[in-house]
Amino acid sequence: MGVGITVEHLNAFYGKTQALFDINIAVLANHATALIGPSGCGKSTFIRCLNRMHETIPEARVDGKVLIGDLSVYNGTSATQLRRRVGMVFQKANPFPTMSIYDNVAAGLKLNGFRNRKQLDEVVHKSLHNSALWDEVKDHLHKKSGASLSGGQQQRLCIARALAVQPEVLLMDEPCSALDPISTGKIEELIFQLKEQYTIVIVTHNMQQAARVAEFTGFFLLGKMIEFDKTEKIFTNPSDKRTEDYVTGRFG
C-alpha cells in the first residue's frame, strides 16, 4: 500500500530566486493527486522537492518539512534512501541508452547491489506487466536496447523501471507531454490502475488529464499553491477567482 505525504511550510530556491513560497499540502495515500498551473508556476519544482531531486541542481536549496508516510524527507534521511521509496517518472522518457530493456528495468535493483537472478527475473516480469509493456517487449528483453523503443513504450519502460524498486509513492512530472494521444491514453489508464497500489502525484499542463486521472488537484501560480481540493471542486466550483480564471481558460 502507498503512504500519504505531508508538506508544511516548504520554500524552495534557485540561488537567490525563490521558486516556491510556503507550500502546505496533505496528499492522501493510494490516490492520484494532480498539480496544475501555467508554465513556470513551480509545480515541477514542487514535485522535485518531494524526492530531493531539486537539490541536484547547483545552488538550489529547500527549507520546510516534508513527510513521506512517517519518513521525514529533509531531516536525517539520506536522499538515496528516500528515493528508493519514492519513484519518479520524468517529462521526457529517459531510459539508460546503453542498457537492454531487461537491464533498464532491473537497473534500480542491480545498481544497488541486488544480485539474485531469479528474483530479478520475477521483478522485471512483474514491473513490465504492471506497466502494460510486457506483451510488447517480452520477446527481446535482452536483445533490444531501451532507446530502440517508441516514445510511448519508452515512457512505460521508465514507469516499469520505477516500479521495480517497489516504491510507495510515484511522482510523475508531466509524463505525457511528449507523447501522442494514443500513448497518453495508455499511460492514463495505467495511472488509474496503479493508484490502487501506489500514491501518485502527477504534474500536468493538461487540465483534462488532471480531471481524468486524479481525485485531488492542486493549482499553482507564481510559486504559490493557490488552491488544493477535490478535483471535482477545482474544476466546477473553485473557491479562488484565479483558479476559476485558469480552469476556464482565461489565462495560462
Binding site: 538515496t80 519518479m88 539508460f96 541508452p97 534500480g108 524498486v165
Partner: protein, 304 residues
C-alpha cells in the same frame, strides 16, 4: 581599387523614372586573382601532402626490407656485426606504456570526472586551466621532472621512471576529453538513476561514465598514441638497454630510444634497423588504437 570606384559612380546614373543600376562584369584582374589564389591553395595542399607520402613511402620501403624474424625475436648485436633485432626494445616499450597507462589512465579519468561532476565552479576552472598548461609543457621537461622524482631517489634509471614521465603526459589529455564526453551525457539520465535511489558515486560510474564509454576510450587512445612514440622523456628515465631486462627498476630499452640511437650511429646495418623499428613502432601504435576501437564497438566494452 580604381575600377570598383568608377563602377559605383557609373552605376547610379538614372536613365528614366526608375533608376537602373548596371552591375559591371567582374574585372579581369579580380578574376585572375581569384584563380591564382585557388591555385596557390591547391599548391599548398600538395606541398603539405608531399612529405607525408614521402615519409610513409620511405618507412614502408626501407622498413619492410629489414623486418624479419630475427628483428622481432633477437636482441641487438654489438656494433658492426650483422643481424640482431629489437625484441627487447619492443617488450620494453610495452612495459613502459603499461606502467604509464596504469598510472595515467585512472588519474586522468578521475580528474575528468571531477571536472564534469564536481568541478562546475572556480576550482574546476583552475584545474581546467592547469591541465591545458600541462598539455603544452615540452616532453623533455617532463623527463627532467621524472628524473628528479624517480631516478634520483632510486639512484638508477628504470622502466618505472619512464612510465611516470609518460603518465604525466597522458593525464591532461585524458582529463579534458573525459570531461567533454561526460558533459555530453544528458542530465536526465543522471536524474533517472538518482530517482531509482542509486547513489551518486554509483550513478557516476555505472550510468554516466558507462554511457560515455566509447568517447572516453577514444580520448584515452588519443593520449596513448601521443605518448607511445615519445622519445625525449625516456632519454634520462628509461635510458635504454642493449639486453633483456624484466625488472621495472632497471634501465629498460624502448623502441623509440633504439630508433634514435641507431639513426645517429655511423653503421648502415643499424640505419636499416632504425627504419624497421620505426615501421614496427607505427604499426604497433595504429594496431593498439584500432584494437581498442574494435573492442569498444563490438566487444564486451560496448555495454549494450
Amino acid at each position: 581599387m580604381p575600377d570598383t570606384d568608377s563602377n559605383t559612380a557609373a552605376g547610379f546614373v538614372p536613365q528614366s523614372s526608375i533608376p537602373q543600376i548596371s552591375i559591371p562584369p567582374i574585372s579581369l584582374r579580380r578574376r585572375v586573382m581569384d584563380h591564382v589564389m585557388t591555385g596557390v591553395a591547391v599548391l599548398t595542399v600538395a606541398l603539405v601532402l608531399l612529405p607525408l607520402f614521402a615519409i610513409f613511402a620511405y618507412l614502408v620501403y626501407k622498413g619492410i626490407g629489414s623486418i624479419n624474424l630475427a628483428f622481432l625475436t633477437q636482441i641487438p648485436k654489438p656494433p658492426g656485426e650483422p643481424g640482431g633485432g629489437m625484441a627487447n626494445a619492443i617488450v620494453g616499450s610495452m612495459v613502459i606504456l603499461a606502467i604509464a597507462s596504469l598510472l595515467g589512465v585512472p588519474l586522468g579519468i578521475g580528474a575528468g570526472i571531477f571536472l564534469s561532476e564536481y568541478g562546475r565552479n572556480r576550482y574546476g576552472d583552475i584545474v581546467r586551466f592547469v591541465s591545458d598548461v600541462l598539455n603544452g609543457v615540452p616532453s623533455i621537461v617532463i623527463g627532467i621532472v621524472a628524473y628528479g622524482l624517480v631516478v634520483m631517489r632510486q639512484k638508477h634509471f628504470s622502466a618505472l621512471a619512464g612510465g611516470v614521465a609518460l603518465a604525466i603526459m597522458m593525464v591532461p589529455t585524458i582529463a579534458r576529453t573525459t570531461e567533454q564526453m561526460l558533459l555530453l551525457v544528458p542530465q536526465a539520465i543522471r536524474e533517472a538513476a538518482y530517482g531509482l535511489g542509486v547513489s551518486r558515486w554509483r550513478t557516476t560510474l555505472s550510468i554516466t561514465l558507462r554511457t560515455a564509454t566509447s568517447g572516453v576510450i577514444t580520448g584515452v587512445m588519443l593520449a596513448f598514441a601521443r605518448v607511445a612514440g615519445e622519445t625525449a622523456p625516456l632519454l634520462f628515465t628509461a635510458f635504454g638497454n642493449q639486453y633483456w631486462n624484466w625488472r621495472t627498476d632497471q634501465p629498460t630499452a624502448a623502441l623509440s630510444l633504439q630508433i634514435f640511437t641507431y639513426a645517429i650511429s655511423p653503421f648502415d646495418e643499424w640505419h636499416r634497423q632504425a627504419w624497421a623499428g620505426a615501421l614496427v613502432l607505427i604499426v604497433l601504435i595504429v594496431g593498439a588504437v584500432a584494437a581498442v576501437r574494435i573492442a569498444v564497438k563490438h566487444g564486451t566494452l560496448a555495454g549494450a
